[in-house]
Each structure stands twice: as C-alpha cells, then as structure tokens.
Amino acid sequence: MTPDRANTPPGDDRVVPVYAFTRGRTRSAGRDLPLEAVVTAAKANTRQGALLQSESLAIVTMCSRPLSLAEIGAALRVPVGVARVLVGDLVNAGYLVAHLPQHTTHAGGPTQAILGRLLDGLRAR
C-alpha cells in the first residue's frame, strides 16, 4: 500500500478503475486461486521488485509473511478478482510462491490428518 493511500478512508478515493491495475483483464494467466490460497514472497526475487508496478510491488512486499488472496485484496482495497489477477501474474513470474488448499477427500475437504492437526491446534488455544 502506498503511504499516501494508507490514511485515507476506505471506499471512494480511487480515481482509477480497479481493473486498470490488471490492464482490463479479469483472468490471470495463472491458476484460478481460491480466496484462501496463501502466497509468500519468493526470496530470490526481492531485488527485481523495482521493475514492478506499485500494486504488484506492494503485494510482494506484504507477502514477506504468508497472506491469503482475501487479505491481499482487503489490504489493497480492491475486489478479490483484481488481487487474483495480480497475484497470479506474480506467481507465474516467480515473485510469489502459492500455497494451495489440499483437497483430497471425496467431498473435496481436508484429509483426516489435516483435520486432526487442526483440532489439536484449536484445542491448544
């Protein structure tokens, strides 16, 4: 997020249509990432970040810690669809590493092992 935008109230301060950041594209060349897909910055590419447009650079910078697509959209105050395109491009270009949900059961939910760990983790809180 750029500093001058950080202190303005959410909502109507944008003068550029949000999909201008994606050059009008609503689909990324990359995979369709779900809302909860987490991305982290790929360590090797920090230096090349200077070549990125500001929104993309902001994403790479904030992803020094794991963040979901939903969180990135909220931080940039753009719809998830916009964040999805930008993040998809950054994953394809090697700036970001995507961590996708692992669906394995017949119903498409997490595995028993993952659910067991989730349960342990929640009980320990």
Binding site: L35, E36, H99, L100, P101, A107, G109, L122
Partner: protein, 200 residues
C-alpha cells in the same frame, strides 16, 4: 536485500519455505445473526471485508435468453484468520446473508473444513437456507444457537425438530461475543468433520 536481512539473524538461518496449508470454515446464517461478531471474536486479525465476484449458471428464472446463461454478482464477505501452527492457517469467511445468493456458495464452500450455521431463535427461519445448503452438499456443519438476551428458552430437541437437523449434526449453545464460546463451536465443528471423514 533478502540475504542482507537474513544476515541480521545468523543464529537462526531462515528455514526453507514451509509448505503452508490454508484451511477455511464458513460462518453462515441470516442477516444480523452474529456472523461478523463470531469472526471477530476468534480472529487474530481485525476482521476484514473482501469483495468476491461469484458466478452461477442461470437457473432460468429471468428472461435472459439473449445473453449467455451465466450471472455474476459481487458479494461482500467478512473474514478472519487463525494461525493454527507453523503450517496451518485457518480462514473464517462470513457468507453473504442474502438468501438469493445461496446457490453461489459453491465456489466459497469448495474445500472447506465445514460450516458454522448461526441461529437466532427469535428468527429461526433465517437459517433454513444455510442448513439446507450444507446438508444437501454433504458439507459438515454445526448449528450454533447464538444466545441473544431475551430469547425464549427452547429445548435442544425442539430446536433440532424445527430445523429438521440430521441426528449427527451437533447443536451447540454459544455466544458470538465470547471468544472461548466461538472457539468451542469451531472445535465442535472440526470434531464433527473428523468423525465424518473417519466414517467415510
């Protein structure tokens, strides 16, 4: 730049990037039932709002024969996050409350651990759409009866009957304002989901 940063902590070299596994739980129920409160009670971040464009095949209600048979709607969702351990990150999504969007939950529900359906006993009808949805999709869910003050007391069996809940679906009394209560509700859900996956 990245390596210079790492040099500041020579005793703790950064490990290779751990495989992070995102998980999600949906929080559903009628408008004003406490979904946002619930998410805020257990989230480690201030709940955020996001907008997602949802797509659905047209169900033929509107006369849109001249246009492709897809409809898209932008819906706002609240969400929060619980970092469970160094690998697991759990996201909670408050589903859009409007009934007419129920058929758009498929994208949101895909891969979910399950759902918490919040119920306000003063407006029990409001949660029918959510209960029907998760039951028909065989998505594990628990019903959380949010204890609004001044609510008449109903026995659990009465509530279960009114909602036509499956016998294995947990029903918990909770208070969306209380973090402990919300956490216990999530635990009940994960126990239920785990039981389902073991039985399957």
């Amino acid at each position: 730049m990245g390596s210079a940063h790492a040099d500041l902590y020579p005793s703790r070299p950064p490990p290779p990037q751990p495989e992070i596994i995102p998980l999600k739980i949906l929080v559903a129920g009628g408008f004003g039932v406490g979904k946002t409160t619930f998410v805020g009670s257990v989230s480690e971040i201030t709940p955020l709002t996001t907008e997602e464009v949802m797509t659905s095949e047209s169900v033929g209600v509107d006369d849109t024969t001249a246009v492709p048979d897809k409809t898209t709607t932008t819906v706002a969702m609240d969400f929060g996050r619980i970092t469970v351990d160094e690998q697991l990150i759990l996201y909670l999504f408050g589903t859009p409350g409007q009934h007419r969007f129920w058929f758009m939950w498929d994208e949101l529900a895909r891969g979910a651990v399950g759902a918490v359906v919040l119920v306000d006993l003063r407006r029990i009808d409001d949660c029918f759409a959510a209960v029907d949805y998760f039951e028909s999709r065989r998505i594990p869910f628990v019903v959380g009866v949010n204890g609004f003050p001044g609510t008449a007391v109903f026995a659990n069996d009465t509530v279960r009957d009114a909602l036509a809940l499956p016998t294995d679906c947990p029903l918990v009394r909770m208070d969306a304002r209380e973090p402990r209560s919300c956490l216990d509700t999530l635990i009940a859900l994960v126990e239920h989901a785990l039981g389902r996956s073991t039985a399957a």
